[in-house]
Symmetry: D2
Subunit: 368 residues, 4 copies
């Protein structure tokens, strides 16, 4: 492997997230280039490779791991596979970028952290909200004292349902929208406040719009209490119409700021005939819409992946790590437990014998 | 007392709320007129009377109750006095409009309902959000099926602190911002959803900005679960800067709507020199501000008071009653209990021996 | 005729504007009541009368003018009839409220003013923007010095086309959207700035979307220069999609304010199934829409008509008069002349022999 | 000079625009790097060099032109110097990026185009709005037919006054805000509509807020008529408070879109203490502000400069050329003439003997 030059990257997956990774590396090509993609379904990785000029295609990611020159692998696969893949990648001596959430259980998270440490590779947790330009501006202002002492951070992601069918299957995803998108809000509040200890987690959740397709929750409300007295309020939904929403609000003793990535960035537009693309999950481009522009950039995805490549080259220190992912995992578990018991759950929370997070909502008494 | 003509009204109080009542009756003068005001501090009721051309002034509301021609009394006084005042008014044979929240305890609420019933007078609970034009439009759309089945209703009121000093004194107010403004959100969600039974209440609260002035909470988050499966999320704050906020959001299986009474109605304005008035609790009129217009009308206050006068004349049935106020009271008590225990509290919740709601947060174990 | 009590009103017309008048008098019933309606098409005035409980119906407005108790008549008829109707009403000894624009020519405007003066009745020009709450707030701030010296006032009204077919017919309307809605912006800028003399008028116009239906312009841009150095920029369109727009912007040497009556007041709403009503000219209630609430109130229509009734009782002085309407007429004529010549036209502008304003655009050289 | 590798860039200037150029090349470093800066005032280029790690500093740009390896020069200097600098750069065999507006006169523009052509170097006109992501999205939608036939394009830039003192001096700038920022709107409308011929120009302008500092106009309104029937409405101001504005609006026969780069992208924020930076020309960071983020990116500046570097390498064709700059120049001249005469000016407009554009406003009869 090279110690300089562009970092050579292999992508696991060929769906929505894999496409974003490939596109993002193209937007900021200075530090890394995608040289391979692996995905089991014939035709899928080929399509991605064709679209982005990726030269090597594999149907078994383990074959891709044999490529000597590849230094970094990004995992875009169902949550239930993250741990095993990370183990394989680390054992092949390559750095890992793992999409969120990190794992199904804390045990898995521990294992992922351990194996990467032992193999001397980086485990980088792909939480893009730590790179989102609008959110970085909010944090910059907070750190400059704009809001006095921040006592409440809100983050919310809402749309009409997940990208891939495996999210509906709780054995593959481990949970519904709280698992899928709540993980963003948890990481965001924690990071925004400067990583104070999380004292407690309360969750309310239900399945309101998609009970025909899943037993997972499609709407969740989560309240975090931090040791420094601040509160996080995290709302997520797979049952919200009219296109994706991603917002944060910061409340301090001397100020307030509202960051809205979609309707707050978009061009309010009315079109009779419609047009190409408005925003993720927009049901139509006719009538009034809120088209966004440079979606990847405005989420911070190219910036995130460039950062990770620079970490591989030793130019930066990972801003989001396996340890962050493990903490998020603990909060996810505590959240499901809370939704099942109607009580707030104190951290640390290390339930034993959990197979998948959502079991703690369905059957909270099962926790030892 | 007259059975026709304008309803003659007496106002108890001479502060912020009393002024709003006097102003609101002027805006829609067809059904009622204010003929008297009572407030103990010399000079205060005189000032209000002078401002609005009210002819009779009293320093003891009991004297005002002796006026034969007065048919309806509005109470704008500390929460701790609501019950005794209502009793006196009812015994004087006059109709009661009581500002929110209705009382300190459920026992008081019961007593208020009972005495009014026995005396054959109306007990009208002044929840203006049921008359707010923008919120009425949201409900009209919901009732027309615009959103499919509504599964989440949010309501929030936030500003930098209360109008009168007695709010800081828990013996007079009974609680902080959850008591002061949470009562609006509770009534709103309940009414919006068509008054389904409330199953449970969860609350998180704290004192973040005003600990030097009060032991009451200045920020609260409340989650209601309704029997029909819907959820209410209610946020309130006395620690939010930049002027009053009052918003509602409606989420259904087929749509969503956002109603913002302040920044969402206002004229975004930049002024170097400043000007007369921007909005409740605005710290300044210089720089960027969000001035509102016809504030009373946009809250629905004149419409509410006209409605109550029409109820006295038998032309309409009260839209917001003592029973509504009592239910809100029960939720307030359950909310404080929940904040104290970290658990959601199931309704019905009839704690015995409560002196003031906030005791249940400070000392949740005291409940029998 | 009574000198006290509610002013008895007769409405000429049964279409869109007549309906607004009837509804507006109902919203603020203290000062006036509609007792009669006149409209030639059988069934139409009957429908309006049924909807609003109006007791007398006529098919010839001249018959209505014979009713002794009626004191005030509102004209909601094609522009080409305004002058003759005003003459008839004045000769019947009744006060006149004339919808905008006042007339077809300045000669007509002169005649209307003269006959009303001679008969001792009021000629009130129904320019509702002088009563629009949001715009009043902007003016209040301006008058308080919020913006320093105001050097630019913008006003714009845009929607997808007029309410009634007669607007397309230049013989009845006298002009397109500049005539129909530009008159609002002219009156607004003039009033907002405190009625300074208008020095010059420049107009650009064209027929972009409705050439199949009309020879009138469906989009216009107008620049006014005032003697005090300020500028008015007025934009109007019948070719704008997605629902009605009505906005004003105020620029001063020390500040700025933006007033938006529609998207700036509305509830951003997404609905799959749709619902009752969003806003004037909204093409649909499905998808994203901007529903408004209390439309008449937010335009100031009930307030305007109450004001006019109070003027009849001598309680107020007309805020918008025949003289205002005549000045607007002069600017309309100058605007069409300017669009025809590509030059700004200096005021006073008293072209001779004009039949209808738009002739000056079509054939600017015809002016003597 | 190299035919591959990063393009080596020299910057003329060390003020506001030069800083933006240096910063922008850093954001997208793949294609070019700044190796030198030249500015006459001692200390200024040194400061810029220090801030961005630029290795070579000159106080006479002609010295910088002797550097063999430099391939591309960007001009950030008073308008009156653009022509002479371009000539020198071209004669030194280097490619030219010239900040807007291109020149003082059409003769200068012609000369710049000619000398570059003769010397075989590119003359690239730095109109960043052709690279602004939000505006690109609007154009993409328009080109997809979202709005039907576009009949009106509006573009506006407004703030409280220019960055450098030389803008106030008409001998150096050639004109006021219409020259400084109107050039953006002219280029934008022309490009957005697909470069149709411009038929006519009308302008209204005045000096409202800065008469103490300049004889140049600080507010301008410009109407363009295109051969395809469309209209451009361009508003610019140096007299607008509360921070920079940059907006575009697109009106078509079947739709409409609003693009707002500042308030429409920003985080609405209230801060008591204030913070680092809100937006260009924001008077304060206290109270309500609209802080923007990644300002250069959201204007498209890094993307623009990367594009120009790629043009030097032959990978792309310049999107904005000297010819575009010359057309803008012609419109600027016509605009001043129009403001002086009160008439719309037909294109082509080739006035003889013009020294600086604003002379045509001050003394329109002087044109031969």
């Amino acid at each position: 492997m090279a110690a300089s030059g562009k970092v050579k990257v292999g992508i696991i997956g060929s769906g929505f997230e894999a496409d974003i990774h490939a596109a993002s590396f193209k937007i900021l090509p200075e530090e890394a280039e995608v040289v391979a993609v692996a995905s089991p379904t014939h035709g899928h990785p080929e399509a991605l490779a064709g679209k982005y000029g990726i030269q090597r295609v594999f149907h078994d990611y383990r074959e891709m791991l044999k490529e000597k020159d590849i230094e970094m692998i990004t995992i875009n696969a169902p949550n239930s596979l993250h741990c095993a893949m990370t183990r394989d990648i680390a054992l092949a001596g390559k750095h890992v970028i793992c999409e969120k959430p990190l794992a199904m259980t804390i045990e898995e998270a521990d294992e992922m952290i351990d194996v990467c440490k032992k193999q001397g590779v980086l485990l980088m947790y792909a939480e893009e909200l730590l790179f989102t330009p609008k959110y970085l501006k909010a944090k910059e202002m907070a750190d400059q004292g704009a809001f006095g002492k921040v006592y409440l951070v809100k983050q919310s992601e809402k749309h009409s349902g997940p990208h891939a069918a495996w999210f509906w299957d709780m054995d593959k995803s481990g949970g519904g929208v709280f698992m899928d998108m709540g993980c963003h809000g948890i990481a965001f509040c924690y990071w925004f406040l400067g990583r104070p200890k999380i004292k407690s987690v309360y969750c309310q959740m239900g399945t309101y719009a998609h009970a025909d397709k899943t037993k997972g929750e499609d709407n969740s409300i989560c309240i975090l209490e931090f040791e420094n007295g601040a509160v996080g309020l995290i709302e997520d939904s797979w049952a919200k119409h009219g296109g994706m929403d991603d917002t944060a609000e910061i409340y301090g003793t001397e100020g307030v700021s509202y960051a809205d990535l979609h309707m707050g960035n978009a061009l309010p537009t009315f079109s009779g005939p419609g047009y190409g693309y408005a925003v993720e999950k927009a049901p139509s481009t006719q009538g009034w819409t809120y088209p966004v522009f440079e979606e990847h950039w405005n989420y911070g995805l190219p910036q995130e992946l460039r950062h990770f490549a620079r970490c591989v080259r030793g130019k930066e220190i990972p801003r989001s790590t396996g340890e962050d992912g493990r903490l998020v995992q603990e909060v996810l578990l505590a959240g499901y437990q809370s939704a099942g018991t109607g009580r707030k759950v104190e951290l640390p929370f290390r339930p034993k014998g959990v197979k998948k997070p959502i079991d703690l909502w369905w059957n909270p008494a099962a926790v030892r």
